[in-house]
């Protein structure tokens, strides 16, 4: 080794090394200059750009959904309110691997294939980038904590509180108030550009009933907030906010207590009750039974629950019986009577000798008296219009209908809302059928036969009406012709809501206003005319209503009806769950208004009751109408009729909404 040392030229090596050091210093300087130039490029030249990018990273504009307006009944009871739930939401853009995340979540919380399928549908909808999409609604506390603990593994997944609709009365208001449910693609497509913006933060939309009708009022205006989010999509700070404008609260004419009473009165029957305040047209009660729990739909009904609802062909809980038509049966007789009086086909003295059947001239076929079909022999004897109504004499109306002809019936009865939808805010209500010769030709392509008129005269055949229409028509008689279109909405945010009426429906004018009194008297006799020595001379509903409640403090005008069941499907007939004969039973109907013939008080309530397969209008539907009327007049309004009846008669007759003079 020493030899090698001698070979070394220390001075030269030192110079060489120092040269290399100098080179190193220069290179270091050059590299740092390059670095500084790059930094200048990033931090000074492109500062604006990166500054904006940084804000874009962290700042997110997100929708703040407005609180949905509440729905109250007329006494201030909540029919629909908002309750907080916690949802699991996902921001797809922030999720690393969506399938992995979903699989992991499935180990933490209950997550069905259906939830995931629903989630994918929601993802496919048009939506703002970085918007959170609900994966599962209504997390339990336990599930919430399990997700929270693992949040570091769940980028893009968050638990978001949300207010959702709650219907405290559950099935009681299922059809009338309706429900909200998750907005679907079709509904989104139907929204205008502005509305779509307005629904940016909204998951739900009114699907049925008042929720749907008053969607615009209830929804409110969307707000915005600028938030700072971290890399995992968690909101760190709220920076700016435009508050949403809550939807307006609405008050309905509906009375929850009456609704309850109607539901209770229907008992085990399937059917419908509609009650209307004649002076305003306000719908006091609107019950379709059986109902269903509308709350199920709010957070997405499961397929299983839904299939239970739709496969029940007998009970059809989703089917709204108040707004779907049935043969009205004998409940149309007062209207036919009015038509006969107005058109001079009958007068107070007109009678027929009823043999119990009707025969068209030159035709052998006998139209039997439907109400008497179980009674052997005989008719009603000498029968005038009033008796024809309180005894529900078919033969009288066969004759009257035949003489008037269907088009006269059609022209007169359409004034009462038959064949049309008079309701201001129940657009989904069906119109039923008020037949005419034209109607049959255009819809059936067949001429009108005289026999069709006979059937229609007792509310059968082609005649179809909804319970809502029957209640409306009854309220028009109660009003002596004044038409107050039925409506649900009473006020908005406390302001009485004068519905913008686009098509004012003319009132019904009779040749002689005394006809109203005459028919009201006849209808009162339906309920109150007792049994006597006279042959068949009592009111059809006397036994079930006035005889049961002998101390009845007010008078009720009514008309019963029963309608033959048509068109039961073979499926139902072959079903083993139900006794077929039950489904063959007639539908029972009853219309009424009260108090009737009261010198101090105009009628306060008009009711239509429809009982599916109830068999008898008078004995089954009648007491239901009575119970609803009792509840309203005696319990809710607390009218003291005994005191009222003891008052001396007024010098002037009580001011009815309309007697003779038009207000136009």
């Amino acid at each position: 080794m020493p030899g090698k040392w001698q070979l070394k030229d220390h001075e030269a090596e030192r110079l060489l090394f120092d040269g290399r050091l100098l080179t190193a210093v220069v290179l270091i300087a050059l590299f740092f200059v390059a670095l500084v130039l790059k930094l200048i490029n990033l931090q000074i030249t492109q500062y604006e750009y990166f500054s904006a990018r940084s804000d874009g990273n962290r700042l997110h504009s997100q929708y703040v959904p407005p609180a949905r307006g509440l729905i109250f009944d007329r006494s201030g009871e909540l029919l629909a309110d908002n309750q907080p739930i916690f949802n699991l939401t996902v921001v797809e853009e922030q999720v690393v691997d969506i399938n992995e995340t979903l699989n992991f979540l499935a180990t933490l919380i209950r997550l069905t294939d259906e939830d995931i399928a629903q989630f994918n549908i929601r993802l496919d909808r048009n939506r703002v980038p970085f918007a959170s999409v609900p994966l599962r609604y209504v997390l339990t506390d336990d599930e919430k904590s399990r997700v929270a603990v693992n949040s570091h593994l769940l980028a893009g997944v968050a638990i978001e509180p949300q207010f959702v609709r709650h219907y405290p009365l559950s099935s009681l208001t299922a059809h009338s108030v309706g429900y909200v449910s998750e907005i679907n693609q079709e509904e989104l497509d139907q929204l205008s550009e502005d509305d779509r913006e307005n629904y940016g933060g909204t998951n739900h939309i009114g699907k049925t009933g008042a929720e749907r009708t008053y969607e615009d009022l209830l929804h409110g205006t969307v707000g915005y907030e600028i938030v700072e989010k971290n890399n995992r999509g968690q909101v760190m700070r709220y920076l700016d906010r435009t508050d949403p404008i809550a939807g307006k609260s609405i008050e309905l004419h509906m009375d929850a207590r009456l609704q309850q009473a109607a539901e209770k009165a229907l008992g085990e029957f399937r059917g419908a009750v509609v009650a209307i305040e004649p002076s305003t047209g306000g719908i006091l009660a609107m019950v379709s039974k059986p109902g269903f729990d509308p709350n199920l739909f709010v957070t997405g009904i499961s397929n299983k629950d839904y299939s239970v609802l739709v496969t029940d062909e007998v009970n059809t809980p989703l089917f709204d019986r108040t707004t779907n038509p049935y043969p009205p049966g004998s409940t149309v007789k007062p209207f036919l009577g009015l038509a006969g009086l107005h058109n001079d086909f009958v007068d107070y003295d007109f009678t027929i000798q009823d043999p119990g059947y009707f025969r068209l001239p030159g035709v052998r076929y006998r139209w039997g008296d439907y109400t008497l079909r179980t009674v052997i022999g005989g008719g009603h004897g000498q029968t005038d219009l009033q008796k024809a109504i309180y005894q529900s004499c078919d033969t009288f109306f066969y004759d009257l209908g035949h003489r008037m002809g269907i088009d006269t019936i059609h022209g007169f009865m359409s004034q009462f809302g038959f064949g049309q939808n008079f309701a201001l805010d129940i657009a989904y209500a069906r119109t039923g059928v008020l037949p005419s010769e034209d109607w049959k030709r255009s819809s059936r392509g067949e001429p009108w036969y005289p026999g069709d008129t006979i059937n229609s005269s007792i509310g059968q055949g082609y005649m179809w009406a909804t319970p809502l229409q029957l209640a409306t028509a009854a309220s028009i008689i109660a009003n002596k012709g004044k038409v107050k279109q039925p409506r649900m909405l009473k006020s908005v945010d406390g302001e009485p809501y004068d519905q913008v009426i686009t098509s004012k429906i003319p009132d019904v004018f009779l040749k002689d206003p005394d006809y109203w009194r005459y028919i009201e008297e006849a209808m009162t006799m339906v309920v109150h005319r007792p049994f006597s020595d006279q042959f068949r001379d009592y009111g059809t509903a006397y036994e079930a209503i006035a005889m049961v409640d002998r101390d009845m403090s007010y008078k009720m005008a009514g008309k019963s009806g029963s309608a033959q069941v048509v068109g039961i499907s073979q499926d139902i007939l072959s079903s083993t769950d139900i006794v077929v004969s039950d489904l063959n039973k007639d539908h029972g109907l009853f219309i009424s208004f009260a108090p009737a013939q009261n010198p101090h008080l105009a009628p306060q309530i008009a009711v239509a009751v429809f009982v599916e397969n109830g068999e008898h209008g008078s004995s089954v539907a009648g007491p239901i109408a009575k119970a609803v009327t009792d509840k309203y007049l005696l319990d809710i309004l607390q009218i003291d009729f005994d005191t009222l009846n003891n008052l001396p008669p007024l010098s002037e007759p009580v001011k009815r909404p309309l007697i003779t003079v038009s207000d136009e």
Binding site: F17, A24, Y47, S51
Partner: protein, 382 residues
């Protein structure tokens, strides 16, 4: 005051200065280097506090490691370079032995099987030892050969470098392998290897690189190269880090967003914000001026290191000090250039700023070597 007074006072000042020099020499510390290191450590802890979101425990742990590092540095600086030189081959052999041991019983972490978990010892990476022992043994080897080195010596030098670097590559830790190799290569460069050989080497590397890319490079390495040229080819995957770090740096502007106000880092948009990408935090919160300050501090330490190499009294010390300083520069530059998008992403920490464990100790050992070289066997006031 007259001239005499002035002279007396001046000479008196000289006296104090030389006495201080003596004290520093006695404890084998180089004051300028020490000041630079302490300033960098302080700055690093300061940034780490913000980068870790105010995690006091993280900062405390880092401070403790740094204190331990300073202690280690002083222990190392007590040894005379001659002693170190004598031990160089042994340390090298021991390092290689440990690398072989890793091959047999190594433990895997972060994709690299480079950890050794011996009973009674904290787990460590033997490759860290090589970061010191390769320049040591290279300096030992070349210092006793005529310079510039002859081809034969270059061949053996290459052997000394490639053997550990290859072993480290087998452990799947390419970044460290490159650093180890570079620390050896710097010795060769400083030893005066002819420029034509250097250029030939660079040229042949360039020629070989397509072949490397096509046949040898692993998928993630290819990805890094592609991402370097176009970060937006996969903005949420491979390109995410560099995009977010550039956003952080760029949005810092000239003055920065202020301490603790870096949105990018505090909202977790910068990955590895405590370690490899901590420069992005600094640049975001303190802006261009903050980065300049850091560069200035680094320059100070680097120049002092080169000055120590320049003053060293024998070739071994010169080569060692020069290599240590250049390797430090290489770390600094590669990290800063990678974070700002000047070079492809290579997982290297920013010395004295990034959070870390054994790597910091290695760094302090090399500082200790610099101090040893500066404070042993030299004239006062050299």
């Amino acid at each position: 005051m007259n001239n005499t007074d002035f002279t007396r006072q001046t000479s008196n000042l000289d006296g104090i200065e030389s006495r201080q020099h003596t004290i520093w020499r006695a404890i084998h510390a180089d004051p300028p280097l020490l000041v630079g290191i302490i300033l960098l450590c302080g700055f690093g802890l300061f940034i780490l506090y913000s980068a870790s979101g105010g995690a006091v425990d993280v900062v405390q742990r880092q401070a403790l490691i740094m204190l331990g590092g300073i202690l280690v540095m002083f222990i190392v600086s007590q040894f005379n370079p001659h002693v170190i030189r004598r031990w160089a081959p042994t340390i090298y052999a021991a390092g290689l032995g440990l690398l072989f041991l890793v091959l047999l019983i190594g433990v895997e972490a972060n994709g690299a099987k480079s950890w050794l978990d011996l009973p009674g010892l904290p787990s460590f990476q033997p490759s860290e030892v090589l970061k010191i022992s390769v320049p040591l043994s290279m300096a030992w080897y070349l210092a006793s050969r005529p310079l510039p080195p002859k081809f034969k010596h270059l061949f053996w030098s290459a052997f000394i470098i490639i053997l550990p670097a290859g072993l480290i590559i087998i452990q799947n830790d390419t970044g460290t392998a490159i650093m180890v190799a570079m620390s050896g290569i710097f010795v060769i460069l400083l030893a005066g290897i002819r420029w034509r050989i250097v250029f030939l080497g660079i040229f042949s590397l360039l020629l070989a690189s397509p072949a490397w890319y096509l046949f040898i490079a692993q998928e993630h390495q290819k990805n890094r190269i592609l991402t370097f040229f176009d970060p937006y080819r996969d903005p949420t995957g491979a390109g995410y880090n560099i995009i977010q770090s550039q956003i952080a740096i760029g949005s810092g502007g000239l003055y920065g967003k202020g301490f603790g106000n870096g949105a990018q880092s505090h909202l977790d948009f910068i990955p590895e914000s405590n370690t490899d990408f901590i420069l992005a935090v600094l640049a975001e919160e303190f802006g261009f001026l903050g980065v300049l300050l850091l560069i200035f501090l680094y320059m100070f330490v680097l120049i002092r290191g080169l000055f120590i190499a320049y003053c060293a009294k024998d070739m071994f010390s010169r080569l060692l000090a020069g290599s240590i300083t250049l390797t430090l520069f290489f770390y600094i530059f590669i990290n800063m250039a990678m974070v700002s998008g000047l070079v492809p992403v290579i997982g290297l920490p920013l010395p004295l700023i990034s959070r870390g464990g054994t790597a910091i100790l290695t760094l302090f050992i090399s500082f200790g070597l610099l101090m040893s070289i500066q404070t042993h066997g030299k004239e006062i006031n050299k």
